[in-house]
């Protein structure tokens, strides 16, 4: 797929725009928020559809329960709060009232990962993909930029079942095409290559694309694939790519434990064993700092993807 950055935009604004569009096109879409309407960019929806917007207050567990209840009667609830308070805070409410009960709730989570920045580790969840991926029946999506987040927001309304949609706070490169079709569970190949497969999700996709350019200058042909859906995982695309390149880098703004890399390793162990290097946070909490400082300190930068690719190739 083609990509060029059209400038920097935050993925949460993609969610806000997608939600507004859904509000206009689907009268069953309702939105719930726990005192973070502006941060989640849900204010446009609130303004245009006040009767379908529910301000819950600072009470995330209550919000998940209310959302589950609203599905009984055909509503499609989109909950909005920070990723930490969308998952860890309310895990059992999601597990029992939403996932196990098969409720059509869309859990929309902003400020995920280190790039939340200065608020620090209390807010920087790096375990959410793992927690959500472990729940049977949960769809888990982490789009890579503004355009893709908007497309994913619109797409998940058509999917019947619980979804975890993860996005972020900072302005980052917006490089996928506007109004793109979004197919849940379908990986997107941005660059074809033969020496190493780089599978990336969320903010790390842009880093992976930049890394591929550096690798190219070094004479290394990297294949860059955007895994926007962590569950269900596009196993076919992963196996097909690794059959060609024979080594793997996974890149994500998440703990190494439980994230995209783990999911890929599981597939490869069963279907096509290959050396794999992980660009992920290695079993530590985050801290305060600017997003770029933190990505560098915790080994999630372009240079880290390049180094991981070289290590993976050396292990072939």
């Amino acid at each position: 797929m083609q990509y060029t950055s059209s400038g920097d935009k935050d993925t949460r604004s993609g969610f806000g725009e997608g939600l507004l569009e859904l509000g206009r096109n689907n009268p069953n879409v309702v939105a719930l928020c726990a005192d973070l309407t502006g941060s989640l960019k849900m204010d446009a929806f609130e303004k245009e559809f006040p009767e379908r917007f529910f301000q819950i207050g600072i009470a995330e567990a209550n919000m998940m329960g209310i959302a589950a209840g609203m599905t009984i009667g055909g509503k499609i609830p989109f909950t909005g709060t920070f990723a930490n308070f969308s998952t860890g805070r309310v895990y059992d409410q999601i597990r029992q009232s939403i996932a196990y009960s098969g409720k059509n709730v869309k859990i929309c989570a902003s400020h995920a990962g280190l790039t939340l920045g200065e608020d620090g580790a209390t807010h920087q969840i790096l375990e959410d993909l793992g927690m959500m991926r472990m729940l049977p029946g949960m769809t888990v999506i982490n789009p890579c930029d503004f355009n893709q987040t908007k497309a994913a927001t619109i797409a998940i309304a058509k999917h019947n079942g619980p979804v975890y949609l993860r996005f972020g706070r900072p302005k980052v490169a917006n490089f996928t095409t506007p109004n793109q079709p979004f197919e849940i569970g379908k990986a997107i190949t941005f660059i074809e290559g033969t020496d190493v497969s780089i599978f990336a999700t969320g903010h790390l996709v842009w880093k992976a694309l930049q890394a591929a350019e550096i690798l190219k200058e070094k004479g290394i042909s990297a294949e860059v694939i955007n895994i926007h859906t962590i569950k269900p995982l596009d196993e076919e695309a992963i196996v097909k790519s690794v059959a060609k390149t024979r080594c793997v880098v996974s890149a994500e703004e998440h703990q190494r434990n439980g994230g995209l890399g783990d999911a890929i390793a599981q597939v490869l162990a069963m279907k096509m064993p290959a050396p794999q290097e992980f660009v992920a946070v290695n079993d530590s909490f985050g801290e305060s700092g600017t997003p770029e400082q933190l990505l560098t300190k915790y080994g999630l930068d372009t240079a880290d993807v390049v180094a991981a690719a070289e290590r993976a190739i050396a292990r072939k």
Binding site: I58, A59, D119, L294
Partner: protein
């Protein structure tokens, strides 16, 4: 008892610290911090029995403080530094990479004065109750203090803790709610009206007091009265009226200053209203 004029001077300096700390990284929460300045200065410079030079996690024989609404870390850090827990110069590192002064308070970086992480709201009352019960088990008759936001108490865990405290007669805790009427999305009345706040705590079995949190004489008098009510089988809650952004006219009374930083011009305007009584860091 401490000299009131001296405490007022410290308050002015703490307010300068708050706006400067939030300005430097262009990030943080000035509104609630400014509103709770007198509360913190009274606690750390007069009310609490504590040992800033030799901080220990267990704080045996000391009064303990827990900040449940962790986002107002600027005021806490300023008061911790100025009462001697760590160098005042360290305030300049707030929210910056590799700092001990994390955006929200943590124990992970080892900052003296902090005994548990906070930031995710609604958890601090439970922790404070546990620490209060540990004191009882240790035959330590010191007092545990905690602070909570009025938006924060929308969290259900607060009410689980409220019920527990009274049922278990945890009477060595003095908790306070920063009743500023504001949270992120607007006034608390706009977001989720909480009705009769005092009646709710009374119904849960607490001994409820009220004070004007921006009047330091009243804060001290109320705390001293509250101390006389400990050990009588009931937890104590002080409902403390404050003004969000208190002391900086353009920040006062609006939820808009909950969590944004002043720009250069706004910093200048704010500092013109706040006298430097001790040296700036």
């Amino acid at each position: 008892m401490a000299n009131i004029d001296n405490l007022k001077d410290i308050c002015a300096q703490v307010r300068r610290d708050i706006v400067r700390m939030v300005h430097a990284p262009q990030s943080g929460h000035p509104g609630g911090s400014l509103g709770c300045t007198e509360f913190f200065v009274a606690l750390y410079f007069d009310i609490m029995k504590h040992n800033p030079q030799n901080f220990t996690m267990d704080g045996k024989g000391e009064d303990l403080f827990f900040l449940s609404n962790g986002h107002i870390s600027p005021v806490w850090y300023s008061v911790l530094a100025r009462s001697g827990y760590f160098p005042v110069s360290e305030l300049s590192t707030f929210r910056m990479i590799n700092t001990r002064l994390q955006g929200h308070p943590t124990t992970h970086e080892g900052l003296p004065g902090v005994r548990v992480a906070s930031g995710s709201l609604g958890q601090g009352l439970s922790v404070a109750l546990g620490a209060a019960q540990a004191k009882k088990l240790n035959n330590d008759n010191s007092i545990v203090y905690s602070l909570h936001g009025d938006g924060e108490i929308q969290e259900g865990q607060i009410w689980e803790a409220a019920m527990y405290a009274a049922a278990k007669k945890v009477d060595n805790i003095i908790s306070t709610i920063d009743y500023n009427g504001q949270q992120i999305d607007g006034s608390t009345d706009h977001v989720l009206p909480m009705g009769d706040m005092a009646a709710k705590w009374v119904a849960f079995g607490w001994n409820v007091l009220h004070m004007d949190g921006n009047n330091i004489e009243e804060v001290i008098a109320t705390f001293n009265h509250a101390k006389t009510l400990t050990g009588k089988g009931q937890p104590i809650m002080i409902i403390m009226k404050t003004g969000m952004g208190k002391g900086v006219d353009f920040m006062e009374g609006s939820h808009k200053w909950h969590g944004i930083a002043p720009n250069d011009e706004q910093l200048k305007a704010a500092l013109e209203q706040l006298q430097s009584t001790q040296a700036d860091y």
